[in-house]
């Protein structure tokens, strides 16, 4: 009943059918091919890259050439404060006579660095402990899960206000650390659940049956396959953290002057909304565009990386 049709050699048909000499098609290259054609990805990626460049090289984008910290209250006897947008000062000037365009451009660095520092570290923490919890299970999983639950129960903004108000000097580092401490649980849960689902795959058993160690299984089989949702969420997290930093600075418990940050600019402008709306508009616009770009990018990545949505 199972008479071999063909002694030893496979049928030529199967060879032809299965043959593909086109470009390699891994999950990532496949996703990239998809992404390239999506306007949503192109727009969001463009905005993200632009904002990153502004953060890295603000000097290149400071076309007006004003120093954001050189703020004359008056120029040639004419008051220089709270001017509206003009050809001279594109975004006008602020309460102290600083060029607002220069300040908004320089403000990108703080917001984006906090967003990226916090995201990178939360992602690392989540991946390491999420894979340990998900892979080994048992006591260690329960232990990590309980700690996660405790931290998860603290609202980020409320916890941030509480912790940050204990400090007099608050720089980028402190704000980042506080946001990392409060922000990792969601990502860890995601990483853990992703690891749990990947762990059930037969290739994990197969790897073990061929002599792979636990570390190797996690590194080569579990992590690469559970990375996609974490990366998507991390991208969105950058946007969320940027707005959290702005919120904390706005509330007066985040960064402090003389730091240049969108949140601080918004805080300074809050009482001037009726008289000088431009003070609120420009940093608000940049903040919104940046947050929007990261969240949109996350969405685009999710669509491309999640096979179920294809």
């Amino acid at each position: 009943m199972t008479e071999p049709f063909n002694e030893g050699t496979p049928t030529p048909l199967e060879a032809v059918e299965g043959l593909k000499t086109g470009p390699e098609a891994s999950l990532w290259s496949d996703a990239w091919r998809q992404l390239r054609r999506r306007p949503m990805f192109i727009i969001s990626a463009f905005l993200v890259v632009l904002m990153m460049l502004i953060a890295l090289f603000p000097g290149l984008f400071n076309f007006s050439g004003y120093d954001p910290r050189d703020c004359p209250l008056a120029v040639d006897g004419v008051p220089n404060v709270r001017l509206g947008p003009s050809a001279e000062h594109w975004f006008g000037t602020d309460l102290l006579g600083c060029d607002y365009y220069a300040r908004v451009i320089y403000g990108a660095r703080v917001s984006i660095s906090i967003g990226i520092i916090v995201t990178v570290f939360s992602t690392l923490v989540s991946l390491v402990f999420g894979s340990i919890a998900g892979y080994y299970g048992g006591f260690i999983d329960t232990f990590i899960a309980r700690i996660t639950d405790v931290v998860f129960a603290i609202p980020v903004i409320l916890g941030g206000i509480l912790i940050l108000s204990l400090f007099r000097q608050r720089g980028i580092l402190l704000v980042s650390v506080v946001l990392i401490v409060l922000g990792w649980p969601t990502m860890l849960r995601l990483a853990r659940s992703s690891v749990l689902s990947v762990k059930e795959n037969e290739y994990v058993d197969a790897a073990r049956a061929l002599g792979a160690s636990n570390f190797r299984i996690i590194r080569r089989h579990i992590l690469p396959n559970s990375l996609a949702p974490v990366i998507v969420y991390a991208t969105i997290t950058v946007g969320v953290i940027i707005s959290a930093e702005a919120a904390l600075s706005f509330l007066g418990v985040g960064l402090q002057l003389p730091a240049i940050s969108w949140g601080l600019m918004l805080a300074a402008a809050q009482n001037r909304l009726r008289t000088d709306p431009h003070l609120l508009l420009f940093p608000g616009l940049f903040l919104s565009i940046t947050v929007f770009a990261f969240i949109l990018l996350g969405d685009a990545l999710r669509d491309a990386l999640d096979p179920r949505l294809r």
């Binding site: 009943m1 199972t2 008479e3 071999p4 049709f5 063909n6 002694e7 030893g8 050699t9 496979p10 049928t11 199967e14 060879a15 059918e17 299965g18 043959l19 593909k20 000499t21 390699e24 098609a25 891994s26 999950l27 990532w28 048992g138 795959n201 037969e202 290739y203 058993d205 197969a206 790897a207 073990r208 049956a209 061929l210 002599g211 792979a212 160690s213 190797r216 080569r220 089989h221 690469p224 396959n225």
Partner: protein
């Protein structure tokens, strides 16, 4: 392959291998899974042996404990919930069950390798097949990336994958089912194991491809002399290639012996049931006779002979007394109180 064969140590850890001892011997193996709702007795006293060049088929329906047995031999049962409560698994006389995990791991892949039912899910989707095979050589043999890829191509050719050189960088999903299983076989054979356990290697494949894969396994076995354990529920698959067979039911072996003997003169009602439930062109039977009833619930294995609720030959004794394996003829064993009657009746039919 024989020319550049890596010389393997003649011991596992501190324990020397005994070349006279059987390649693999499993004795009185018991495996249970302790779940919240109760304990599943997956394997209940299984024994068998395997030698070089030998192909042993382990036959049984779903839930008969045949795959769990393989996992126990490989040492990849998840504990908890799975526990090996009794028994022994010896490789060339070395007890594997009480080896520390690091030494146990050195047995996997090097001495005993395993291939799985569904080769799509048994290959990591994010790495190319060549990378995955090459990794075996990079980790276990310390080869460079380039050398590893050369070995991968060599192995893919040995597994009769056409255009291996062109396809070494392809990803698992770019291969057909049969080709994927060949990749899996190539990977399993990369360290030249002494034993290959194939857990339903052809179940997910087309019939024609099934035959090709079985043929490939047979040829590779002839080349290397490895012992082959074929786990399957498909009688047709094993009839061609196996030397001996162990028929399992409810985690026990109910019949064992030389394949043709068991195939043509079954000595256990369950084996008879299996034979009658497959189409056999040589016997011209009018209809197929399925085995009545349901496979046993392994949390509540029936008393006495576990097969008695479904057995046509059942007598009172079967309900109360567990049958032990009786010798039908030399190594031919049957766990039926009434195997003589069963065989006699079968012969008159």
């Amino acid at each position: 392959m024989a020319t550049d064969q890596i010389f393997k140590k003649d011991s596992i850890g501190e324990r020397p291998l005994d070349p006279q001892a059987p390649l693999l011997s499993v004795e009185d193996l018991h495996v249970e899974f302790r779940m919240g709702v109760g304990t599943v007795q997956a394997v209940n006293g299984l024994s068998y042996g395997l030698d070089r060049h030998e192909t042993l088929a382990i036959l049984g329906e779903s839930g008969s404990g045949k795959s769990v047995n393989a996992q126990a031999v490989m040492g990849i049962i998840d504990t908890p919930p799975g526990y090996i409560t009794q028994g022994s698994v010896k490789f060339r006389g070395v007890e594997l069950l009480d080896l520390p995990e690091t030494q146990r791991r050195s047995v996997r892949g090097e001495r005993i390798a395993m291939i799985f039912q569904d080769a799509l899910t048994a290959l990591n989707p994010v790495f190319s097949v060549g990378w995955q095979i090459a990794e075996m050589f990079r980790i276990h043999r310390g080869l460079s990336k380039k050398e590893g890829f050369e070995k991968a191509i060599e192995l893919m050719e040995r597994a009769r994958i056409p255009l291996a050189r062109e396809r070494v960088n392809s990803y698992p999903h770019e291969f057909s089912g049969g080709m994927r299983q060949r990749v899996m076989i190539a990977m399993a054979l990369s360290l030249d194991p002494d034993i290959l356990i194939a857990d339903e290697p052809t179940t997910a494949l087309d019939v024609t491809v099934q035959a090709q894969i079985m043929e490939l396994l047979r040829e590779l076995q002839q080349e290397t002399g490895m012992g082959l354990i074929l786990i399957t529920h498909d009688l047709g698959v094993i009839a061609e290639v196996a030397d001996n067979v162990v028929v399992m039911y409810a985690g026990r072996e109910v019949e064992t012996g030389e394949i043709n003997e068991v195939y043509h003169h079954p000595a256990h009602p369950y084996t008879i049931g299996l034979m009658d439930s497959i189409p056999r062109p040589d016997l011209h039977t009018e209809r197929l006779e399925p085995i009545v009833g349901q496979p046993p619930d392994l949390m509540h294995i029936p008393s006495g002979c576990p097969f008695h609720p479904r057995c046509r030959y059942r007598k009172d004794r079967c309900v109360t007394e567990v049958p032990s394996l009786a010798s039908v003829d030399g190594d031919r064993l049957s766990a039926c109180h009434y195997w003589e009657e069963v065989m006699r009746e079968r012969a008159h039919k």
